[in-house]
């Protein structure tokens, strides 16, 4: 028999080897659940559950909403800069608390009457606490929100200036992240930069924890948004 003509036929000298049982291939679980056409991304699986309201990462927060929120718009993640960024002002605050004790040793305030000294002390401590409160507010109000429709950056700069930037998932062109410095590497925080097609062509999430996981969440939501728009068309 010409083997080249009939390749399915077994030649008498061909050893018969039983076919290897192929191991069942485990399908990698996608981070987007596939039980419904527009399944929600598993943000709890990626980021875990929120520990407390002062956390830097708020996963599906029930206590958070914003003025520009649309009806039915779901917040997936609320982000603030990593708490370690508060360390510099906390150190300054502690130093300011103990500074009057230092003045006591130098006897610099002894030239003033007691009533004046007391007033200066009250003034100093009030100033110290307002300084700390203002710094805390700057951190607390600097919030990045990822919803099912868009990405939002709300920031209150220089006490009175409100900065609001948003971009829809369809407008996102590129996402990148960077982790800088010793603290950034040690505590795993960095910047996430989102290039958009809009006029304000960049949104920067500064010093947020787990930048790589945040990118994954954004990508999952981008896919979900694409699915939804694909279904709508």
């Amino acid at each position: 028999m010409n083997r080249s003509q009939d390749l399915d036929a077994i030649a008498p000298d061909d050893p018969i080897i039983p076919a290897k049982k192929s191991a069942p291939v485990k399908k990698k679980k996608p981070s987007v659940k596939s039980d419904s056409p527009a399944a929600e991304p598993d943000v709890y699986g990626l980021l875990g559950h929120t520990q407390n309201s002062f956390s830097s990462v708020l996963v599906k927060p029930k206590i958070l909403s914003f003025q520009e929120q649309d009806d039915g718009e779901k917040i997936y993640v609320g982000l603030r800069p990593h708490w370690i960024n508060n360390l510099s002002w906390i150190v300054t605050f502690v130093f300011m608390i103990f500074l009057p004790i230092l003045f006591k040793y130098i006897d610099i305030l002894d030239i003033f009457p007691v009533s004046y000294v007391n007033f200066i002390l009250v003034f100093w401590y009030l100033f110290t606490f307002i300084y700390a409160f203002e710094k805390f507010l700057s951190w607390y109000s600097n919030i990045f929100i990822i919803t099912d429709q868009r990405i939002i950056d709300i920031d209150f700069k220089n006490i009175l200036n409100k900065h609001f930037v948003q971009t829809r998932f369809a407008q996102i062109e590129d996402i990148s992240s960077s982790i800088k410095g010793i603290l950034g590497t040690f505590f795993n925080y960095g910047d996430v930069i989102i290039q958009t097609a809009s006029e304000d062509n960049k949104i920067k999430f500064e010093k947020i924890p787990n930048p790589s996981k945040i990118i994954m969440v954004i990508k999952d939501l981008q896919d979900l948004d694409r699915q939804k728009r694909g279904g709508a068309l």
Binding site: Q67, Y116, I120, F123, I130, F133, I154
Partner: protein
């Protein structure tokens, strides 16, 4: 006594300090008012569980600074 040899000079010096502290306290009231405004703006923009607490703290600061201004007058 700041200037033991001269009572008048001491009095002038303390008056100048008092004016300085009054201006400082007045500026402080202004700063507290800005903080109150900031908190109001934040609470209006982003709703959170702690917003009432933040608002309360900001108003406490404002009241304390107003008391501070009044205290300067009694020095």
């Amino acid at each position: 006594m700041i200037f033991p040899q001269n009572q008048v000079l001491t009095s002038y010096f303390l008056s100048a300090v008092k004016v300085f502290l009054f201006i400082l306290a007045a500026m402080f009231v202004f700063l507290s008012a800005i903080v109150v405004k900031q908190v109001a703006s934040i609470t209006k923009s982003v709703s959170d569980k702690f917003n009432p607490t933040l608002t309360l703290i900001s108003y406490i600061f404002l009241i304390l600074t107003l008391i501070l201004v009044l205290t300067v007058l009694t020095l």
